[in-house]
């Protein structure tokens, strides 16, 4: 059912980590959260990152999401080494190449559904009409075309997560980073969201899914397991 990972030669590598380390200084104590992680992800892949708490999952996600810089090592996203970019360029990269989906949806409460979806485009400097058009299109894609002008608190958890997915897709990112996307949802809504992910992946979207739930991880084509800041196992599921 599983086999060791081998890079399909045909696919383009869009994420490549080269012995990435991350150390935090907390007063006198130094915590080494990542101790040299190397990882390559090809376009169109669907990968889950698992591991017990404290294994470095969140740190890895922050590095992958360009929210944090590695202490050493290199991180290539697309064609560029983003490990040493300054705050401004990292913001630009986040806005242009990454789509975030969070456990607690993280929608902006005072904005409507369509405005929430528009946020990444706004920071990309999009025109008003282009934004509206694209946001409406994506809202339709996740089945929320009837709720464009609703506020997040008027929606169910599953619907809010759909808005977040639309928001993550709106700038047509290279990679979608999902952090426990089903963690706050009941199992039915969770299954629906995972179904959306499957659809997206089948349309060629690259998805990195961080979870501690093995059932959720099974939706991915490849499972990376972390332990103590290192890659413990990296397996590819053979889907029949």
């Amino acid at each position: 059912m599983t086999s060791p990972v081998e890079n399909p030669a045909s696919a383009e590598t869009i994420v490549r980590l080269e012995s990435v380390e991350k150390t935090y200084r907390m007063g006198p104590v130094t915590v080494q959260a990542l101790r040299g992680i190397s990882l390559s992800i090809e376009a169109g892949d669907y990968i889950s990152i698992m591991g017990p708490s404290g294994c470095g999952k969140s740190t890895l996600l922050n590095v992958l999401g360009c929210l944090d810089r590695p202490s050493s090592g290199h991180y290539f996203l697309g064609a560029d080494d983003v490990s040493n970019l300054d705050d401004r360029d990292l913001s630009e990269i986040r806005g242009a190449r990454l789509g975030f989906i969070f456990q607690s949806y993280n929608l902006i409460q005072q904005l409507t559904v369509v405005e929430n979806i528009e946020v990444p485009l706004f920071y990309q400097g999009c025109g008003e009409e282009e934004m509206r058009e694209r946001a409406a299109h994506l809202a339709k894609l996740v089945g929320l075309e009837a709720r464009l002008d609703h506020k997040p608190f008027e929606l169910s958890g599953g619907q809010q997560q759909r808005v977040a997915i639309a928001r993550a897709l709106v700038n047509d990112p290279l990679v979608i980073l999902a952090d426990e996307p089903t963690g706050n949802l009941d199992s039915v809504s969770g299954q629906e969201i995972l179904k959306v992910f499957d659809d997206l992946n089948s349309h060629g979207k690259t998805i990195i899914l961080v979870t501690h739930d093995a059932e959720v991880a099974r939706h991915a084509a490849r499972a990376v397991r972390l332990r103590d800041g290192l890659v413990d196992s990296d397996v590819r599921f053979n889907k029949s």
């Binding site: 922050n62 242009a96 990309q124």
Partner: protein, 444 residues
């Protein structure tokens, strides 16, 4: 793949054009509207600051305008010299040979001397002032009879509103004509025009040839002005020559239980100087001249220009005091805004984290919070300006005080309140932008 590859932007960096700003402003308004009461309370400091500045400036401007008007009526090129009873009159009258005739004041000789020796003097206007009842049949009014010369209206900037002033010819002919002050007309002639009618003063009748324009109401702006505004009480003008023949040089004042006689040639001299630059120098010269001939100090000098300058200085001080009050209240308002913005930044840490994750740069966050602070202070400024314009209106309506809103004061107040927003919004905005995105996202 090269190890260090300079990353290329997908799109050109977004410029700062109007559409973007509009969206940021709309977002700011929406956010502030969510906390209506809090925003309103925050803004109150600025509102009161701006409103009090404009209203007080308007009231101050009105008061000083009135004072200056009064002074200007006296003529900024004029020097007014007035006879007063010398301070030692009691002793003088007791020890004097003429027993009860008190002699003091300006004389015709003074006029001749000033005219002969002081250059720069253009015109001299002598006048005598007597207090008498003026009658029309059975209506009477206590009145100042001002005996003067035909060029009085031009020199004292006091216009005739109907009819005319008396002429040189009437002056020479010692004609019994008079010009009434506007205040007399409604009392003596409640029906119809007084022109062509007659009024009685003592035993003689005067033909009314004209009516003077009304002068400002009772001034509340200081003793100097009040003293010098001789024309403010009811007054009636007659030719100086006529007065000389009618009254002679000696005035008798009969009061209950006392009887005194005064010999005063002229009560008031108005000296017009060719240009206002020369006024102060000429005033000194006139003073020196009079001092030599009036050892008893039986005169006083009023230089309207000096009063005007003094009034302007007072106004300047007033403005400085107002400015300080304004500065303090705006400072307090600004601190209020800063306080609430800091609270808002903390409260919205997560939103900041989300926005940063979705591609917002530091400057985007700074702009967002700065715009909110400016909206608060500008809204406060607008409300303050409105109140500041309305309040003086009511003050003039109900307190009868004159108020003037200078056109620049609302603009100034508004600009300053906007600036306050920027200044006090910068620190919270920078705090918001300086947050670590990871920390901000983790914030509950």
């Amino acid at each position: 793949m090269p190890a260090s590859h300079k990353f290329q932007r997908a799109r050109p960096a977004p410029g700062f054009h109007f559409g973007r700003l509009k969206r940021i402003v709309r977002l700011g308004l929406k956010t502030l509207w969510l906390h209506r009461l809090r925003s309103l309370l925050t803004v109150l400091g600025i509102v009161f600051g701006v409103c009090s500045v404009i209203a007080m400036l308007a009231i101050g401007e009105g008061a000083s305008h009135e004072a200056q008007e009064q002074i200007k009526n006296l003529g900024s090129q004029n020097i007014i010299v007035r006879s007063i009873k010398p301070p030692d009159q009691q002793k003088a009258s007791e020890g004097s040979q003429q027993s009860y005739v008190l002699q003091y004041g300006l004389t015709y000789a003074d006029v001749r001397r000033i005219r002969a020796t002081i250059t720069g003097v253009q015109l001299i206007l002598p006048s005598r002032i007597m207090r008498e009842y003026v009658w029309n049949i059975d209506r009477r009014l206590d009145c100042e009879i001002i005996a003067t010369v035909p060029w009085y209206p031009t020199l004292r900037h006091h216009e005739v509103i109907s009819g005319r002033f008396f002429t040189d010819h009437e002056m020479d002919a010692k004609a019994s004509v008079c010009v009434l002050g506007a205040e007399l007309v409604p009392v003596l002639f409640p029906l119809g025009s007084p022109l062509g009618k007659e009024v009685r003063v003592g035993g003689s009748y005067y033909h009314v040839v004209g009516v003077m324009a009304p002068r400002g109401k009772n001034p509340q702006t200081g003793a100097d002005v009040q003293q010098s505004s001789q024309t403010v009480p009811n007054s009636m003008f007659i030719p100086l020559e006529t007065a000389k023949t009618r009254y002679g040089e000696i005035l008798r004042k009969i009061r209950s239980g006392s009887f005194e006689q005064e010999r005063v040639e002229l009560h008031e001299l108005t000296v017009e100087v060719a240009s206002s630059e020369q006024v102060m120098a000429t005033a000194d010269a006139v003073k020196a001249l009079l001092e030599r001939h009036h050892p008893k100090k039986d005169y006083e000098m009023v230089v309207p220009l000096e009063l005007l300058r003094r009034a302007e200085r007072t106004k300047q001080i007033f403005n400085i005091v107002l400015g300080s009050i304004a500065a303090i209240s705006l400072l307090v308002g600004g601190i209020g805004i800063m306080n609430i913005m800091l609270a808002s930044v903390t409260e919205r840490t997560r939103e900041i984290g989300i926005r940063r994750a979705l591609g917002a740069k530091r400057e985007d966050i700074i702009t967002q919070f700065l715009v909110e602070a400016v909206i608060l202070s500008a809204a406060g400024g607008i409300i303050g300006v409105l109140l500041g314009v309305i309040i003086p209106h009511f003050v003039s309506q109900f307190a009868g005080m004159r108020t003037i809103i200078t056109f620049w004061s609302p603009f100034l107040a508004f600009t300053i309140s906007g600036t306050v927003g920027v200044i006090f919004g910068i620190y919270p905005a920078f705090r918001a932008a300086a947050m670590d995105p990871v920390e901000a996202l983790r914030h509950e």
